[in-house]
Subunit: 112 residues, 2 copies
DNA sequence: GTAATCGTCAACTGAATGGTTGAATATGCC
DNA sequence: GGCATATTCAACCATTCAGTTGACGATTAC
């Protein structure tokens, strides 16, 4: 249990990995396509994806030579529950969330 | 922004630090008292508290020779909002949360 | 004043992390 | 078969992290 939270929070602590999760929020993607917007090497992104998969935040399925990455939002439940226990926040404003995500993506990913 | 989430999630990824936050949920505490249940050194706990303070998750105020540590749950808001965007979870069951916290504390802190 | 208490600092260690490059392994295409 | 594409592996490097121990600066108590 504590073990799982360790790994989930550690996975979320990296901006590249959070950016990847945001990208996968829109659609499943192949590893190469996930890596495309980043300046770091493909191997580095592959490692990040492994970290996310170990945390249960994404799943990966190989079809042919392409490995598809899929968001697994349920893995965030334990972490969300843990955090909500420390303060009751009003319901999330999803519009604000989307604007926030967008600005975080812009900070993390280089413009083409 | 992304910077803040980095630091908050990294702070939460350590079980000792999460245990400290749980302890502070009940009451403000002095550094020495925070350290008491742990087997690690006082200096190590002092460092953990600095990490939590840097993340804004606690505040520290020195009165006399005692430094008091206080939970600052609002710092979790940004992180909670970020995570909730990935899935709409039902309202938190606080009883379940308390049981969970207790079991996590028992896993992290040595019985006297 | 002197001694005990509270907490941090400094220097060190071992392990983990994020990154690189180049080779290796599959798989698909012609 | 032969070549291109997709992804990971292996080895390496620099940095960060959690922990230790011992010394040190404050503050309180006697």
């Amino acid at each position: 249990m504590a073990h799982t939270l360790d790994i989930i929070f550690a996975a979320l602590s990296d901006p590249t990995r959070r950016a990847i999760l945001s990208m996968l929020l829109e659609d499943d993607m192949a590893v190469t396509d996930v890596a495309a917007p980043f300046t770091t090497s493909l191997a580095a992104i592959s490692k990040h994806l492994q970290v996310l998969a170990d945390a249960g935040l994404i799943s990966q399925e190989k079809r042919g030579r392409v490995k598809w990455c899929k968001l697994e939002p349920d893995a965030l439940r334990a972490a969300t529950v843990w955090m909500q226990g420390f303060g009751q926040f009003e319901p999330v404003n999803l519009d604000a969330f989307e604007r926030f995500l967008e600005s975080e993506l812009n900070d993390t990913i280089q413009a083409p």
